[in-house]
């Protein structure tokens, strides 16, 4: 049973790049985020093909959100993945593990070539993330509706400790059909957890059909407002909008970012098609995808 550790060179490069961004223009930051997201998608599609399993649609819809958080927002250090004062990030839609693993590897939390072990026997890189084995993972997710309550607990701990650290959680939109999320939303609001940012990857598709045909989520923004959140609705593939949306709360309220996304974003034949929830690309399709991603 393997447990992963930091890739020092890669972590140093990541940290240097993050430091450099602090002194540069928004355009330069956006370019860096686009590069990171492209790398994440490219690694991911190859991982899924190699493993013959994965969730490419949701991985690609969340890739720009992850790239923005890791590339420019989260206060984290791959050399010290359990630093008590680190910002917390939870991927509640744990089936998008491929996107998370790719992101963590590109940031140096573990060596990039470990991605080749994804879903292989005894690999640390299970089909869903495991915090005990993978540095950078904060809680084990997979069953839906789990990450948000845990994130609320993180934010409560920070508040009790008087810490300024922030907590981010990304949920799928279909996942909002789980009632536990709304229990957590009430708690976050009741305790005024303004250091908490919930992100909804609003790609409008779930495993079997469109969200609105399965169990309607709209009016989604109104729901969050009525639960006491500061709502920021954006294009979840626009880095500039993502960066602005991830700025701290301007009120005493927790923030929700409704990130309108396209499932499978970045590869035309995968985009917005329900069957690509967990369809596996052929080798030819991987070639075509890489060509399109690097265009």
């Amino acid at each position: 049973m393997s447990t992963l550790t930091v890739d020092s060179a890669s972590a140093d490069a990541f940290l240097a790049s993050r430091r450099g961004l602090g002194e540069t223009s928004r355009d330069r930051i956006v370019t860096a985020l686009r590069d990171l997201a492209r790398a994440v998608r490219s690694s991911d599609v190859q991982m899924i093909n190699r493993a013959q399993l994965g969730h490419i649609g949701g991985d690609f819809s969340v890739a720009d959100i992850l790239a923005t958080l890791y590339g420019a927002v989260l206060n984290i250090d791959p050399h010290h993945p359990t630093d008590p004062e680190r910002d917390r990030f939870i991927l509640s839609k744990g089936h998008s593990a491929g996107a998370l693993y790719s992101t963590l590897a590109h940031c140096g939390f573990f060596p990039l070539d470990e991605l080749e072990t994804f879903a292989q026997p005894l690999s640390a890189l299970n089909g869903h993330p495991n915090r005990v084995k993978v540095p950078g993972v904060e809680t084990n997710t997979g069953p839906l509706g789990h990450g948000f309550p845990v994130a609320v607990g993180h934010a409560l701990a920070a508040k009790l400790q008087g810490s300024a650290r922030r907590t981010f959680v990304v949920m799928g939109d279909g996942e909002l059909q789980e009632g536990s999320n709304w229990e957590a939303a009430m708690t976050a609001s009741h305790y005024h957890l303004s250091s908490l940012t919930a992100v909804v990857d609003r790609n409008r598709l779930q495993q079997g059909a469109r969200t609105e045909d399965t169990k309607q989520l709209e009016p989604l923004s109104d729901k969050w407002t009525s639960f006491g959140f500061e709502v920021r609705e954006i294009d979840g593939h626009d880095y500039d909008q993502l960066l602005t949306a991830f700025e701290p709360s301007t009120t005493a309220r927790p923030v929700v970012v409704i990130a309108n996304t396209v499932k499978g974003k970045g590869v035309s034949f995968i985009e917005d098609r329900v069957e690509w929830h967990h369809k596996v690309p052929t080798t030819e399709q991987v070639e075509a995808a890489l060509e399109e991603l690097n265009r």
Binding site: T139, A157, Q161, H190, Y191
Partner: protein, 316 residues
């Protein structure tokens, strides 16, 4: 079955609450998390002294357990407390994924377990919890038998390296241990040195097993009473030794007999030392209406039931 001397009995929730407050005074990482159950978890004293460290998520058990996992990851020591049926039933997947599988150091406190809520009925009984929780990996199950063990269990759980499930009794029980008895995690306390038949008992059943030992002494049957405060991990050594040194083993628990203590002991003995056994518990039934005392008698979970099982085994 009239007790010759009336012994004082205790609600273990009081010992739980007192010890938790004492811990909280020493360590500001201690927090209590509850689901509106401030009163039934006996947390009013805690709330009065540490208002900020009593997190009440309202009537929302899935959120309750998830929030506990997050608090643990954030460096706190959360005691997540709720009536046992709702904590373990409603939030079982959170207990599995967020706590045990994630190794979040949370103390899950199942209050008023077994049939403590007597007349409120099977919705409020927690007789399935031992079977459910025992099926989850990496989650110790602690069932204190009296106030002294409850205090020791609370203190142990706070500083154990991983999560745990504490079953905190409401039904009044006599003290079976002196206050200074050593609490050894994972070890059975042998309360009588019987040589004929062994009773492996947990929680409310321990004092009843001692009562049965008294009754049988007069009949020339010598009962060895083992108090199992850790159902997981089980002290297999003490049980195997008892199976070797006595002619039969009786298990007794205020829980279904499907997957709790009896099942654990049967699994151990059938594979390593086949031994005549009787498993006392509730045999896949929902309880009828009645008080806790009535229901314990109804299911034979009393000294008479234990004594009768012991007579059967010793007559073989």
């Amino acid at each position: 079955m009239t007790a010759a001397v009336q012994v004082p009995t205790f609600d273990c929730r009081k010992a739980f609450a007192e010890e938790l407050i004492a811990l909280a005074r020493e360590d500001d990482r201690i927090v209590a998390v509850c689901n509106d159950s401030v009163g039934s978890s006996n947390l009013t004293g805690f709330r009065d002294e540490f208002p900020d460290r009593l997190i009440n998520v309202g009537i929302a058990e899935q959120d309750l357990v998830g929030v506990g996992a997050g608090l643990a990851n954030g460096g706190m020591i959360p005691f997540v407390s709720a009536a046992a049926p709702f904590l373990t039933g409603r939030a079982l997947e959170q207990i599995k994924a967020d706590i045990a599988y994630s190794r979040a150091k949370v103390v899950l406190c199942g209050q008023s377990p077994g049939m403590a809520y007597g007349e409120l009925g099977p919705t409020h009984h927690s007789i399935e919890d031992l079977s459910w929780i025992r099926a989850v990996a990496d989650l110790p199950i602690v069932v204190p038998a009296d106030p002294a063990q409850t205090r020791a269990a609370v203190r142990w759980a706070a500083y154990h390296s991983g999560p745990s499930y504490l079953r905190i009794g409401r039904f009044p029980v006599p003290a079976v241990h002196a206050d200074d008895t050593v609490f050894e995690p994972g070890r059975i306390n042998q309360l009588t040195d019987g040589v004929d038949i062994t009773v492996v008992a947990t929680g409310t059943m321990v004092s009843r097993a001692l009562e049965a030992a008294e009754t049988l002494r007069a009949e020339g049957i010598s009962l060895r009473v083992l108090n199992v405060s850790f159902i997981e991990p089980l002290d297999t050594e003490a049980i195997l030794r008892a199976a070797e040194e006595t002619a039969g083993v009786i298990t007794a628990e205020e829980a279904t007999s499907t997957g709790g203590l009896g099942a654990a002991v049967a699994s151990l003995l059938s594979q390593h030392r086949p031994t005549p056994m009787r498993i006392l518990g509730i045999d896949r039934q929902f309880a009828p209406t009645g008080s806790t005392e009535f229901l314990l008698d109804y299911f034979g979970l009393n000294a008479a039931g234990i004594a009768s099982a012991a007579r059967e085994l010793s007559a073989r």
